[in-house]
Subunit: 217 residues, 2 copies
DNA sequence: AAATATATGTTGCAATTGCAACAAAAGGCG
DNA sequence: CGCCTTTTGTTGCAATTGCAACATATATTT
């Protein structure tokens, strides 16, 4: 197995990874589209890593609405520890979207010091912290966008964040406009209307999903 | 010093805490209201713990607007690792509100295994994970509220979460209505208008900050 | 106790938004 | 290619919302 691309193991030599892999009692499993990969509240003590394929983190609302909380692609990590849990009354689970291979690590193996004294354990802990922090940053980014009161401000805020992430005024949206409307939690048509207005006012130009921010942005 | 109330050290004996305290090179500092306690991006390698008093985590917007990202009361933990960082272009810092004592721990002392092999180190790591998770949960809760499209749905969603947290249909709001309006990111007067409407329709009753949810809620 | 600040409650009005209903374009798939 | 699904783009209209401007009540400070 190639550990170098898995963020949880980044910076750790393949040899050490193999040792830990055995030491920790890691299991891997194949999933078909539609299958439930992980159920929050049930599989409490596992951390999951998507080795290949795609999955989504879903929430079933009180009102029966399914919401995508997160897209989990290759190398994504999920589990109670990296929780999105929200109000515990709703069902939250990971569903396979495209045939996927997933590794599961018992959570306490990560936190506790390994009895067999695996080297690099503290590095693993650091990586885990880093992953959790990244998740917190992503959540904060979304709050930053959602905290704006008007659609215009939400779009603008989102574009500013993308500008920062990409480091330049030209970049491609990471997903469709429909998905963007979901992300900023507004009506798609209303968002498109505002987008058109903003383009007309010269704030930015868009060719498909390619955005070009103008001057002051 | 009394460690038993500090979440980062919970479950660890006072003796062990004292040992770690020395071992980690913890420093404590007093702050007056208005003073800057911690500057994100500058004090990168420190984790802060509010031992007494109060502080707030602030963001200075591009447009010069100060936003309260988080209230930090006794035992709150903050720092780059528990980051809220958002877009790195904005200034983010912790400001003392009420005279406070704050402890700072070098971040890498928490992740790395202590050279002097302090016992209970893995417990500390667990506590740190737990704190980060709690933060993620709090962020997710807010997203859950902010993701609603109407003020009514935002209020309702917020009350449902409070109901779950309190475990009953009667509870007190943890802050003022003004603060609630900030939290759900809507105009206060519009929120009050909707609140009045919802009360009139019998969804809940409010006596000051004491909420009583009706039946179906 | 008086003075000052902060929180709560209310309303009119203009602007924004969600919703519904389209039509056209682009992608995916056998 | 032709069929089907998803995405994009647009508009009218009713409902919601933000904003501004109040009045009153409750805290907090001097």
């Amino acid at each position: 197995m190639d550990f170098s691309k898995i963020s949880l193991f980044s910076g750790i030599s393949d040899d050490s990874c193999c040792a830990m892999y055995d030491c920790f009692g890691v299991t891997t499993q194949l999933f078909h589209p539609g299958q439930t990969v992980y159920e929050y509240g049930v599989d409490q003590n596992l951390v999951g890593i998507v080795l290949s394929g795609e999955a989504v983190l879903l929430r079933l609302d009180r009102d029966g609405e399914e919401t995508v909380l997160e897209n989990l692609d290759e190398n994504s990590v999920f589990g109670q520890m990296l929780a999105f849990s929200g109000s515990m009354t709703d069902r939250v689970w990971v569903r396979c979207e495209k045939a996927a291979e997933v590794a599961f690590i018992p959570y306490d193996q990560i936190t506790k010091r390994c009895e067999k004294a695996c080297a690099h354990h503290s590095h693993l802990v650091e990586n885990m912290f880093s992953l959790m922090q990244q998740k917190a940053v992503r959540l904060s980014e979304r709050i930053e966008v959602l905290s704006r009161r008007t659609i215009r401000e939400k779009i603008w805020s989102y574009l500013q964040i993308q500008k920062t992430l990409n480091g330049k005024d030209d970049f491609a949206l990471p997903f469709s406009y429909s998905a963007l409307a979901d992300y900023i939690c507004t009506d798609r048509s209303a968002m498109m209307r505002e987008k058109a207005k903003m383009e007309k006012e010269g704030l930015f130009s868009a060719d498909g999903r390619n955005i070009h921010l103008k001057d002051e942005g």
